[in-house]
């Protein structure tokens, strides 16, 4: 605890502050684009489309100055998971054109075999890609969006401000609690608690000795904070004004209209195509 990569004092939930085009986009515009992207991935799909979107996302990661090393580090787990989905498709989808047959247990003298089919291969690839695209798109959003600005954006768009401020206050106090946690550990050792000793009972005790002081300090802080916020009229009325003006610029509108337009278009085409397909099928 108490260690952040690069000694940064402000860990903002995966937000990587940079001065880039992607960072500069309006948070709400980006959120709308993300929702569109997820919709299309889930409903529209298609291997070609998915590969295209995935490459686009990777390009945006590079364009935002964050680079691919961060996603590689964070994506390792996701990649493994995607691979597992892919493999399970290979094993369990046995319909369609057979590409090759494998007897994996032959060396044990078991003749059980399964086929790798075209359906299984392509289906697995598509599901794994969908998964990857959704996760990496969300990561791009989180890494390039200042959560305070997002909270403000959401509140302006109608989210009750109490909820928006829950996010802001959390962000404000994460570093504080982080520092407190390491102080508590120091205090334990300074009073002779040997935290290296093993055993279930000791782990339980240690957890107690960590959470009790942290909780007590948090409660005191919450009291002060409530007084400070209510004392400045928080909760006095349902509405509130926002001092910081948000400029939704041309490029934000392009992003919103572009993604929403493409989504409608593709979903429309898809529904037409499906009706057409039904029509053809019913004729046969």
């Amino acid at each position: 605890m108490g260690k952040h990569g690069g000694g940064s004092l402000i860990p903002r939930l995966g937000y990587v502050p940079k001065d880039s085009f992607v960072h500069g986009l309006d948070p709400m515009a980006k959120l709308i684009a993300l929702v569109c992207c997820v919709l299309l991935v889930v409903i529209y799909g298609g291997l070609g489309f998915l590969v295209f979107v995935f490459i686009l996302i990777l390009a945006l990661f590079i364009a935002s100055g964050i680079g691919l090393s961060l996603i590689y580090r964070k994506l390792r787990f996701i990649l493994t998971f995607g691979l597992l989905i892919f493999l399970s498709y290979l094993v369990f989808v046995q319909t369609g054109e057979v590409l090759t047959s494998i007897k994996p247990l032959e060396f044990l003298g078991l003749g059980w075999s399964f086929s790798i089919t075209k359906d299984g291969f392509l289906g697995g690839l598509e599901i794994a890609l969908r998964f990857l695209v959704i996760i990496s798109a969300s990561m791009l959003f989180v890494a390039t969006t200042d959560p305070t600005k997002l909270a403000h954006g959401l509140m302006r768009s109608g989210l009750p401000y109490r909820y928006g401020f829950m996010l802001i206050v959390t962000l404000r106090f994460i570093p504080v609690f982080d520092m407190e946690a390491s102080t508590v550990q120091h205090a334990q050792k300074a009073r002779g608690l040997d935290i290296d000793k093993k055993g279930i009972w000791r782990i339980f005790k240690l957890a107690k000795y960590t959470f009790v002081p942290l909780l007590a300090s948090a409660m005191a802080r919450v009291d002060s904070l409530t007084r400070s916020m209510e004392g400045r009229g928080f909760g006095a009325s349902r509405k509130r004004t926002y001092f910081k003006q948000v400029k939704v610029r041309g490029r934000d509108w392009v992003l919103i209209l572009g993604t929403v337009g493409i989504t409608f278009l593709l979903l429309f085409l898809k529904s037409q195509y499906t009706t057409l397909l039904h029509l053809v099928l019913s004729q046969l």
Binding site: G7, K189, R191, L193, S228, M229, R240, Y242, F243, Q245
Partner: protein, 500 residues
């Protein structure tokens, strides 16, 4: 403008009133200081004024401009009364200074143009324009308090209450808060109410001083008049009694090197906080460690217990290098009391808390000793209470008892006097002085120069990662004056000290 009319208040579940028959009136633009020993009711008074205490029972009335305060909802009061609290960290709720200043006005639905205007104005009144575009996390304690004051001032309330606004601040940050208050006094008509233990820094600004004792107003009036009643103030515990004569504790022998630090360098993250310091602490000595917040005092303390590893240099305790020693074992000889009392209270009862360390060390039959230490620190009646339910002052004394009970040879005390009244401070120092006669060395991290000049044998001053001063107390203050650290000189020093 504010009138307390035989006002009494009793907390829920308590049998005796926390405030008893308060009659007090404050006018527009009054600058009042309210003081009194811990538990005298200052904070209760402030919270009643802000109408935070609704659960308890009250009799009598508080009027604000002829309206009964107890009938007004807290947030409706926001435009009339603002409260600045002690903990600078716990009252800022946003991530940037601008957001913080705008917070109240936004909640009260002010138009953007007006917010902009008030923001400029409030920052200029507290003399904090340079803070405008900063992140709240990067502010020092004093700057945080400045922002907290400005964020309330922006609402333009009629009254601003400050509850021990400088208790946890170093002298430089305290000066920043004073600066903000000077601005308030000169440029606004706001009624200011300061609740403080250490009143000397505010008296020249105040036109009213109220001394409270056991829930009642004991003295009230013009600061000069009230301060003239020195003996009464000493009895109540608002002032430290004068030291008899100038003699230091000559009879005490400080000998034998206990702790030696040699060319220590420490990093925190990427920054070198301590850049090569050497000093030693002898048996029976009370040494003070002073310096601005963030100068590395706490970091140094953590290194002495091997909680942090130095990047260079050596620390020896009784001639042994501590490098390879475990903290949990080293702790038996070196006790450390941390800054925040909450962070070091682990057990469910006070007596278990005192026994926490001795049990960890496997010491036997310490119960009698534990009770004796509870007695020294006036905790005997509280032995079965949960530690977190104690008052701040009681928690601090419990922290001390929990360290001294196992008889360490060196006690490092990080800001143990924050929020203590004079009576408790004197009492704690008496206990410590008695122990030093038996050989205990005390390394006291402290901000208050008056306290240091009164009780410490030696002063070490950390500045920019180096020891700027390491000398016996009198000499040390002369040295501090020479290097321009006037904020760290005790009261009256510049009149009696050499040159100016």
């Amino acid at each position: 403008m504010i009138i307390f009319n035989s006002f009494s208040y009793t907390y829920p579940g308590s049998s005796s009133p926390a405030l008893h028959n308060i009659d007090l009136s404050l006018d527009k633009a009054d600058f009042a200081v309210i003081t009194g020993p811990s538990g005298c009711g200052k904070s209760t008074l402030a919270h009643c004024l802000c109408s935070f205490l609704k659960e308890g029972k009250h009799t009598g009335k508080i009027f604000l401009d002829d309206k009964d305060i107890m009938n007004i909802e807290p947030f409706k009061l926001a435009e009339k009364i603002g409260l600045v609290q002690q903990d600078p960290d716990a009252q800022l709720c946003t991530l940037t200074v601008e957001d913080e200043l705008a917070f109240g006005l936004e909640n009260l639905c002010y138009p953007v143009k007006e917010i902009q205007k008030r923001l400029d104005w409030a920052l200029s009144v507290v003399r904090g324009q340079y803070l405008r575009y900063r992140d709240t996390l990067t502010l020092s304690g004093g700057e945080k308090q400045k922002v907290a004051i400005a964020s309330i001032l922006a609402i333009k309330p009629e009254v601003i209450i400050l509850d021990e606004p400088t208790a946890s601040l170093d002298p430089k940050s305290t000066a920043q808060v004073r600066e903000a208050l000077e601005g308030l006094r000169e440029r606004t008509e706001t009624t200011v109410l300061i609740l403080e233990h250490r009143i000397s820094g505010f008296l020249d600004m105040a036109n009213k001083l109220v001394v409270m004792q056991e829930g009642e107003v004991a003295l009230e009036g013009n600061p000069q008049e009230v301060m003239a009643k020195r003996q009464v103030l000493e009895e109540i515990g608002v002032l430290l009694p004068k030291r008899e004569g100038k003699k230091r504790r000559e009879e005490k022998k400080t000998e034998g090197k206990l702790l030696a630090v040699k060319d220590l360098r420490c990093r925190v993250g990427d920054k070198e906080v301590i850049k090569g310091i050497s000093f030693a602490i002898k048996k029976g000595e009370i040494a003070a460690l002073m310096g601005d917040n963030g100068s590395g005092k706490t970091t140094l303390a953590l290194h002495i217990l091997n909680l942090l590893k130095p990047s260079y240099g050596r620390i020896t305790f009784l001639g042994q290098d501590i490098k390879s020693r475990k903290t949990s074992e080293l702790a038996k000889s070196i006790g450390l009391v941390f800054q925040n009392p909450c962070h070091q209270l682990f057990e469910e009862t006070v007596i278990d808390e005192i026994l926490f360390a001795p049990r960890n060390f496997g010491m036997e039959k310490v119960e009698v000793r534990a009770e004796r230490w509870a007695g020294y620190f006036r905790l005997i009646a509280l032995l079965n209470r949960p530690p977190h339910s104690l008052s701040h002052g009681q928690k601090r004394r419990l922290n001390l008892a929990s360290i001294l009970v196992y008889g360490p040879k060196l006690a490092i005390l990080d800001e143990v006097f924050i929020g203590q009244d004079m009576g408790n401070m004197m009492h704690i120092m008496e206990v410590l002085e008695k122990e030093t006669k038996k050989g205990l060395a005390v390394f006291l991290i402290a901000h208050d120069p008056n306290l240091v000049s009164r009780f410490c044998d030696r002063v070490l001053f950390l500045k920019d990662g180096r020891l700027a001063v390491d000398a016996p107390t009198e000499e040390a203050f002369k040295e501090l004056e020479r290097i321009g650290e006037h904020a760290y000189l005790p009261r009256g020093w510049e009149n009696t000290g050499v040159g100016h």
